[in-house]
Symmetry: C2
């Protein structure tokens, strides 16, 4: 385009990145639609759409032109522009390593594998999923091979979701957690159990009440039902949450608060960053720190329930009529080892992640065979949490992540838990007693603090730098462990 | 891509066209989402997404490479491949005329104008829509100027939706229709009127019953509520209908059958044509002939209601309990001049279209000013149909078409009515008494006939050729007029 060639390099780079952001949004719309709206027979055509968008984005991004523009834009004064160039260079160098055909294959086969996973999980039929998982692993190996200078293959994957994170560092944090979590779980106290049913419509009303108190605005947000909850942003000022409401329990309420945390991080990014790679949360762990903060540090706090239990109880007169606030709080906070990561409490959650972190490294190293996964999974679940997995739907097939090639992603969930408490301690130091505000149904001060310190910056600061700026320290499991010890003393 | 360059020309062309079909699907997903799911504040980002997809498609399509491949693929033996090359050449030559920036501007401004139209219509505020309509008209003039050899500017627009159609030919058909329709409407008999309310849930049940009898399969189709009904195909084997259910009347039932006609045309295209420009209905008028056939020739037939009235009546005991089948049939078929095109009966519909056909030509010629549109609209509505338009929401603002730059499109609706009866006469000659089948709730033979003669071919035959192959004649208003005369005798 003539006008682009004549424009200064920064403008040209921004125009290319804006176009890529639009295509990324198109992919996100297609993805959201495939999980919320699409009739099942549309899956094959949809896989083509996503693969083509991925390839087009890849081709445009890895062009020499982008490299030349980056070269011409070293040492910019404006810190936001400098951050844009830094992040773009990091992604461009990564993307240059990966052939377009491999990127398209990964995307295309993920579309097919996730549909296969869906069926396999419904039938608890691991065997039918094996060829798809083999394919995902093979593609992941080819992807890792594009980064031959990285000594630890798993580091390639970690760094993609969590800039600068290493397997060794995760290992160190997880070892420390395991040391404390296993005895903490063993020492758990018996807790009251809630028995439903919790009618779905009343749960949806409860979800809306909480979301609106947190600052959900239907002009820019929506929430739908899907089997697996997620949050996405198919455009700036367009935030989509999903939840899975099941009359047997109140999981949906907590998962809704979880997805709100992801949504609000994206929603509160400074609008001046829109249509650029800076307009997204800075890393998976930082993102997860926000979903966990809203789900657990807010949503399982005493103050929150002081406000919300009087609203929730009348929605479920049969199930909660005779349950007092204290018993309810104990019931929803209790340590209860189970099979399902997504339903896990704050203490056992980490062990679910540690299991996956170990297995992913073993799969990559070839020390575990895919066909042996169910057996190893079930045996370790017994070792770590003392539970007997009843079938693969409640075991190795429970998560979609591997079907879409997300390896190296799980650890960021647990790092998010760790970071959430580091940030929480800082917010409390600045804002005073948050629980008192929550007890009045007020969440605005916390949200503003988070917007100011975390959300608005998008990806301007790499995760380490952001954490250091806010807390004055690096990744540190001790505040999180202290929080758990206090809570479950 | 290396592999593409090495492949034979036909394969290379097909690979490019498949990629473009995927991007077209991405645009269609984004469009469907914006009308069904998107929170309102997502509109600005969505306009960027659509503009970028349009520009990317345009750039890829108008490349010299496509031109060279087309040049290397003259005179293919395989008739489907030859049709692909013919259609691609027609579209490529058209697209080469239009600068990418103009195409993107048209797309981007349409996204903004349609939101403005939405608000303007809700407030019946034409003045707020004027600048957007001016912009659309200006862009349309620039578009027409890309085809300087076409003597009649309106021909440029018509030919886009209806290959080979000319203003003169439409004028001739419409003059003949006007001659007959005006006296036919004047001679109308009084007819019973239905009075609601018709509860929305019962209407949605009725819609599903009819759709399922017609062959709607939830594995590949869905139906949603939108203010303005439409059908779209965001992927092969992925058909989306929408309807607008209003408790005051049964319009939704007929508009659902209408959109089914569009959907089934797309759904029944031969799967071997997927991911190519042949995988779509061959023209707007042919498409409309199918929506009109299912809405009117099937859905307002005596046989259809012999089957369906006993199912519909119990869904609305209050409104229909004392209405017999014959009165109902008269009520839903009656000639009733009104303001709204979308609600118009089979006889008055044509005059709504003729009004728009005239105004569009006058706007392009500059003989009508945009600011004078409401006055002229209302005055002609009175001349043609004897009705007094109460406000612009029920007048010039009723249709979205102009807001998205659709000029030259309205005539195809009425040509569709004309063609629908031409095809219907042929189907009846082949299949015998369709009404008897409908009275048993059987629509399969008609659908199979249509699939075989019309749908499966997609765009292999241009509209004139398809009509000639099936009916042995060209566009002819007489069967349609004869049908109306018989029905309203």
């Amino acid at each position: 385009m003539t006008f682009a060639t004549a424009a200064p390099p920064l403008e040209r780079l921004k125009a290319i990145l804006a176009e890529l952001a639009d295509l990324q949004h198109a992919e996100s719309i297609a993805d959201w639609d495939s999980r919320v709206s699409m009739p099942p027979e549309g899956a094959a055509a949809r896989a083509d759409v996503v693969a083509t968008l991925t390839r087009v984005m890849h081709e445009r991004f890895v062009s020499d032109e982008v490299g030349e523009l980056l070269g011409a834009l070293e040492g910019l004064d404006d810190p936001t522009d400098a951050a844009l160039v830094r992040l773009t260079r990091r992604e461009w160098e990564r993307a240059r390593r990966v052939p377009g055909e491999l990127a398209a294959e990964m995307s295309h086969s993920a579309g097919i594998a996730v549909a296969a996973w869906d069926k396999a999980k419904a039938a608890s039929d691991f065997a039918s999923f094996v060829p798809h998982l083999e394919r995902q692993l093979e593609l992941k190996q080819r992807y890792i091979a594009c980064f031959p200078e990285t000594e630890t293959p798993y580091d390639v994957l970690l760094d993609e979701y969590e800039e600068g994170m290493t397997t060794a560092e995760v290992q160190k944090v997880f070892t420390r957690l395991k040391e404390e979590l296993v005895p903490l779980i063993e020492r758990r106290q018996p807790a009251p159990e809630l028995t439903g049913p919790f009618p779905v419509e009343a749960q949806q009303r409860a979800n809306r009440l909480v979301l609106e108190a947190f600052g959900y605005d239907p002009a820019a947000w929506r929430i739908d039902e899907t089997p697996h909850p997620f949050a996405s942003k198919p455009g700036f000022a367009d935030i989509r949450l999903t939840t899975h409401t099941d009359a047997r329990d109140l999981t949906s309420l907590f998962s809704t608060m979880h997805e709100f945390g992801h949504g609000v991080y994206e929603f509160d990014i400074d609008p001046s960053l829109a249509r650029s790679p800076l307009a997204q949360g800075t890393s998976s762990a930082l993102h997860e720190s926000q979903s966990r903060m809203w789900e657990n540090l807010v949503g399982r706090s005493r103050g929150f329930w002081r406000w919300f239990y009087p609203k929730l109880q009348p929605l479920f007169p049969d199930a909660l009529g005779t349950v007092d606030e204290e018993s309810f709080l104990q019931a929803v906070s209790a340590i209860r080892p189970g099979f399902i990561r997504g339903d896990a409490d704050e203490a056992t959650y980490g062990l679910h992640i540690i299991l996956r972190f170990e297995l992913e490294q073993e799969l990559l190293a070839g020390t575990v065979e895919i066909r042996d996964l169910p057996e190893i999974w079930n045996s370790r679940m017994n070792d770590y949490l003392g539970v007997d997995v009843p079938d693969d739907a409640h075991g190795v097939l429970q998560d979609m992540h591997w079907s879409i090639g997300l390896l190296g992603y799980f650890p960021t969930y647990q790092l998010g838990n760790v970071i959430s408490v580091q940030l929480w301690e800082r917010a409390r130091a600045d804002l005073g007693d948050l629980e008192e505000q929550f007890a009045r149904g007020e969440f605005g001060q916390l949200r503003e603090w988070l917007r100011d310190h975390v959300y608005r910056h998008g990806s301007i600061y790499p995760p380490r730098e952001l954490l250091q700026r806010i807390t004055g320290s690096q990744l540190d499991p001790e505040p999180y462990l202290e929080y758990l010890r206090t809570k479950f003393a």
